[in-house]
């Protein structure tokens, strides 16, 4: 497909769910007969009419490809024109978008232990990746380290806790005290000499690239450390 010929979808908001203070999920349905084929972890690029501009704003899909609806999960960003626009929409309103986009994804069954590291709404692309990893026939160790500012901002917590009960291979560790880097260092670098694990890191702050650089510098292969920084 050439530039300028992108398919534009029009999603209709079917539900709005409050996830945390100033954080909500928007669920979209597409017109009958349309379906978006995407990989767990990919994002859509929303075209938002704000004032006289059309803003391009990417949002990771927090839903899984098998789900009926598309879900994005976002914060209300102080001064953010895109998030303010989306927070002003209601059920029945529509959003135009292109996609899916992005190479931060987990599609095939894991071939090694998977360590997922999320910060805030960076959990959005991680969530369907974990679902895909847990659905694989062979159960590699799968861990989620999720940094949030407080217990009430650990998104999808109940879902991950249920997954722990169902899958012996899965561990879920909220990090609420700002010690994310120390936890990763203690567990996966200082803890042993195993460097076969695969990392998937997503967040909004410099912690994402800090962890990337540091894991690669301590022996993990470049392609074993996948990340997305928003």
């Amino acid at each position: 497909m050439s530039a300028g010929e992108r398919r534009v979808y029009e999603g209709r908001i079917t539900r709005i769910v409050r996830r945390a203070p100033d954080t909500r999920s928007l669920f979209f349905s597409l017109p009958a007969g349309e379906r978006l084929a995407y990989r767990p972890g990919q994002f859509i690029s929303c075209q938002l009419p704000v004032g006289s501009d059309i803003l391009t704003r990417p949002y990771s899909l927090a839903s899984s490809p098998e789900d009926e609806e598309l879900e994005i999960c976002l914060n209300l960003v102080p001064g953010g024109r895109g998030s303010a626009y989306l927070f002003g929409l209601g059920v029945g309103d529509t959003v135009r978008f292109t996609g899916p986009w992005g190479s931060f994804c987990l599609d095939a069954a894991p071939e090694a232990a998977c360590i997922f590291v999320a910060e805030g709404t960076g959990i959005a692309p991680i969530r369907p990746m974990i679902a895909r990893a847990l659905a694989a026939p062979r159960e590699w160790p799968i861990a989620l380290h999720y940094a949030a500012a407080g217990r009430d901002q650990v998104l999808y917590a109940e879902e991950f806790e249920r997954a722990v009960e169902r899958h012996a291979c899965f561990t879920f560790s909220p990090v609420l005290d700002g010690s994310l880097r120390a936890v990763i260092e203690r567990t996966y670098v200082a803890g042993d000499a195993d460097r076969s694990r695969h990392f998937y890191i997503c967040g909004v702050g410099s912690i994402v690239t800090e962890l990337r650089d540091w894991l690669r510098a301590t022996g993990y292969e470049r392609r074993a450390v996948q990340y997305e920084k928003w």
Partner: protein, 117 residues
């Protein structure tokens, strides 16, 4: 001043823009003064699905001349370029390649991107 010549692989007429980089940003997406910023600010379309946040490769451009004038790509850009279709030794992401003052560059905007990265 900077002189930027843009060739479109899809056959659209080429464009030349001249601008003062000190006036960056020219709009709101990509690094200020980046190829993406300059193009959009001068009414020239360049795909940027991630909003110019260095999270996809849709703003991939090939630098035909002047590549050495650009600051070196950082790790995040290199990781994404690694996945770009049609990668060349002088590929850059438009949202990350900031144009320095007093240079002349020619870039090609590829015809195809893939609906993945």
């Amino acid at each position: 001043m900077v002189r930027l010549r843009i060739i479109f692989e899809n056959g659209d007429p080429e464009r030349v823009v001249e601008f003062d980089p000190a006036k960056a940003p020219f709009q709101h997406d990509g690094l200020p003064g980046s190829i993406l910023d300059v193009l959009l600010g001068h009414g020239i379309h360049l795909e940027h699905a991630c909003g110019g946040n260095c999270a996809c490769t849709t703003c991939h451009v090939v630098v035909k001349s002047g590549f050495e004038k650009l600051p070196e790509a950082e790790e995040s850009e290199l990781d994404l370029l690694d996945k770009a279709p049609g990668l060349t030794p002088t590929s850059r992401l438009g949202c990350q390649a900031v144009l320095p003052n007093n240079c002349e560059l020619t870039i090609v905007i590829p015809r195809f991107t893939i609906n993945l990265a």
